[in-house]
């Protein structure tokens, strides 16, 4: 590996780092990484808040989180000798959306919006709402200035890039041409001109056909009620986007040494560069390290075969298969086979990771070894955090 070593401790110890965003495709261990990073930073003296989205139950429990309640909770059992602390919260996207509505509309209008079926669907299942709300919450936490480091775990999107695109998409929708057209029913004699008018009524006709008149009506009512908030939405999305480009933010791309995960990581690295967002580096998670035994796969395989032949011959000769040396030979042959597949796996992972690294030679990388067990408690998170440290 010729890429520079990613020094995570240097990033979390640097007081100028205010936000770390953990991103990557699904199933690579983002949430655990975010939690372990938060704990490590807290125990090294930072006031940390970890914002997680949909963590596995036991991981959430390990940080004392029991429900989605949108409130940062102090995590017990953190070593505070260095003067740090750890808070954690799980994102409740609907609640966050409701709060924005409540903050921006008078009570009567807010109530009208919250009761609208279109809003209810939008706030609980629009494909980008979770991402948008994660960003919104991040902005709120950052502005509150109660924490000096916020670690965000990005939502389990279809693609890692959704995290960057969804706020923009939701903003575009809420601000969009189409939705404005919906709210201003076509009247004859409007400056649209007859042609456009005809085209437009044909289109609303088509939409009514596809969606049904009631869906369109709900959407129109929603948009009318929501109208005053559109500008605000766009502004908020822009502000959060700027926050992500600010110098205090660091993106940590998480991937496993698998082609699909590293492909996503590649897209993300390129995208961050385009958006001028600060990339800390790649955390290559769940690497199967070779261990202390350096016997090559080929030699290991060959020795296993030799032993297996010997076992077979001895069985034929003595017929006493329970023999002491046969048992040891069987175990040894098995251990050699295992060792060979382990070396092969390590080789493959290095090859897969190597193609990422040669495409992005300047991206700092840290490898984190695969753990036999999932993390259930702070001690486990602490061990994961220790594995982030640069090995001497």
């Amino acid at each position: 590996m010729t890429n520079p070593q990613l020094d995570i401790d240097r990033i979390i110890d640097d007081r100028r780092t205010r936000i770390v965003v953990c991103c990557g495709s699904g199933g690579v261990g983002k949430t655990t990484t975010a939690a372990a990073l938060g704990l490590r930073a807290a125990e090294r003296g930072r006031q940390v808040c970890v914002l997680t989205v949909d963590p596995a139950r036991r991981l959430a429990q390990s940080m004392g989180l029991t429900s989605l309640d949108n409130t940062p909770r102090l995590v017990d059992g953190v070593d505070d000798e260095a003067g740090g602390s750890l808070h954690a919260m799980m994102l409740d996207m609907k609640r966050t959306f409701d709060e924005i509505v409540e903050a921006h509309a008078d009570p009567a209008r807010a109530a009208q919006i919250l009761a609208n079926p279109f809003y209810q669907s939008l706030s609980s299942s629009f494909a980008g709402t979770q991402e948008y709300m994660a960003m919104e919450k991040l902005g709120q936490l950052r502005r509150s200035d109660e924490w000096d480091l916020i670690v965000v775990d990005t939502p389990p999107s279809r693609s890692a890039l959704d995290f960057l695109d969804a706020p923009e998409r939701l903003g575009r929708f809420l601000d969009g041409r189409l939705i404005r057209l919906l709210t201003s029913p076509v009247k004859a004699g409007r400056p649209f001109g007859r042609m456009l008018n005809a085209g437009f009524s044909m289109m609303t006709g088509a939409m009514t056909k596809v969606l049904g008149a009631q869906v369109l009506r709900d959407a129109q009512t929603f948009v009318t009620a929501f109208d005053t908030m559109f500008g605000g939405f766009r502004e908020r999305a822009d502000a959060t986007y700027k926050l992500l480009q600010a110098p205090g933010t660091s993106f940590l791309v998480v991937a496993t040494p698998e082609p699909a995960a590293l492909r996503e990581a590649s897209y993300f690295v390129e995208r961050l560069a385009e958006e001028r967002m600060p990339l800390a580096g790649l955390l290559l998670n769940r690497v199967h390290s070779a261990g202390s035994c350096q016997l090559s796969a080929a030699r290991s395989q060959a020795a296993a075969e030799t032993l297996e032949t010997m076992i077979l011959n001895e069985r034929v000769a003595s017929a006493s298969s329970a023999d002491y040396s046969v048992a040891a030979q069987t175990a040894t042959a098995a251990a050699l086979r295992l060792h060979a597949s382990r070396m092969n796996l390590g080789e493959r992972e290095r090859r897969v990771a190597g193609s990422f690294m040669s495409a992005h030679p300047a991206v700092p990388v840290v490898e984190v070894p695969a753990l036999p067990e999932d993390v259930h408690d702070l001690a486990g998170l602490r061990r994961v955090g220790e594995s982030f440290a640069v090995q001497g």
């Binding site: 495709s25 079926p117 629009f126 929708f173 969009g176 596809v210 969606l211 496993t256 699909a260 050699l336």
Partner: protein, 337 residues
């Protein structure tokens, strides 16, 4: 048709889900290959445009079009029994919407105009649930499509849908509930209901791909519970993917390795420096034993679900077409197809 019974005779739409990173797309592709035998025609659908299927089969990105991408295994003994065909289709919500407009209203032209105005954005990403209805709608349409000249009377003998990950699959499949909050009447509702008629029928089974690790197993159990709570959805098999290799029996693994005897065996096999080597290998063996024990625990949890469980080995070299065929053969041997 072959005389051999499989666990899923009568199922024509196989939905494959799994936690991210468990190899869901690989298993879906292997299942499609396994089903494509004896002249059967199978459609493999990718629901989330990542082009994973094209990559697996080493093809350029798939368009929104059903294309033949592979030939299933034939039964060579009698020579008369050819392999089947695997077709693939990558669905994106936009394409599915235009397809829907064309199919039901003959309005593709308008669809294109709507795309320009952002209508498609609105209808697929924004109108919640609509995109899922369109994708599942396309899968069920392909499942039901008639072809009088074929032996089964259908265009495809089986359809395999590479569905969204476990965390989202309940919502994805529960189409009628999903749109009902939004559209109580109207064409979308009617369409959703007709999609639900196929999905919530014995013709459809939802298979879960899982690795023997805690989080994926927990997600699988949660996903199965969620599906069962919906009612009408048929839980299919559980496919354990990337299973650790079995090199020794349980008893052999539990036995304390005798490093002196191991060193002797290593010397006999022609290796050097065997005292140290034996210690290192014994450590690796102990680590493996611990891993197997954890995996066994997870396997027991999956077996307690009571659905058929299949097991596919970890392919260390990475997945290529040859590996897919090997996995397909495993699935066939174990009765999944």
């Amino acid at each position: 048709m072959t005389a051999r019974d499989t666990d899923w005779d009568g199922v024509r739409l196989h939905v494959v889900t799994g936690k991210g990173g468990t190899g869901k797309t690989t298993v879906a592709a292997a299942l499609a290959l396994a089903l494509a035998h004896a002249g059967r025609k199978v459609l493999l659908i990718e629901a989330e445009g990542r082009q994973g299927i094209a990559r697996l089969f080493d093809r350029p990105p798939l368009p929104y079009e059903e294309r033949k991408i592979a030939i299933g295994p034939g039964e060579a003994e009698d020579g008369r029994n050819p392999g089947g065909d695997v077709y693939a289709l990558a669905i994106d919500p936009e394409g599915a919407l235009l397809d829907y407009l064309q199919m039901f209203y003959n309005m593709r032209g308008i669809g294109n105009a709507l795309t320009k105005l952002g209508m498609v954005d609105f209808a697929t990403t924004i109108a919640p649930g609509l995109s899922d209805v369109l994708v599942t709608g396309k899968a069920t349409e392909a499942t039901r499509r008639k072809q009088p000249s074929s032996s089964s009377g259908f265009s495809y003998d089986a359809v395999v849908l590479d569905a969204p990950p476990t965390g989202r699959v309940g919502r994805f499949l529960n189409v009628s509930a999903e749109v009902s909050g939004l559209a109580k009447v109207g064409p979308v509702r009617v369409h959703a209901d007709s999609v639900a008629n196929v999905i919530k029928s014995p013709q459809t089974a939802v298979h879960f791909v899982c690795t023997l690790e805690e989080m994926p197993v927990q997600e699988t159990l949660d996903g199965i519970a969620e599906l069962r709570s919906v009612g009408g959805l048929q839980v299919g098999g559980i496919v354990i993917n990337m299973a650790p290799p079995t090199v020794l029996s349980r008893e052999e693994l539990q036995a304390q390795p005798d490093t002196a005897a191991m060193a002797e065996a290593l010397t006999a096999a022609g290796l050097h420096n065997t005292d140290e080597l034996a210690k290192e290998l014994a450590d690796e063996l102990a680590g493996h034993a611990r891993h197997v024990e954890l995996a066994e625990h997870e396997r027991a949890e999956l077996e307690a679900v009571g659905q058929p469980v299949y097991e596919l080995p970890l392919v260390i070299e990475g997945i290529d077409l040859a590996a897919l065929h090997r996995l397909a053969a495993e699935l066939r041997d174990q009765g999944a197809a």
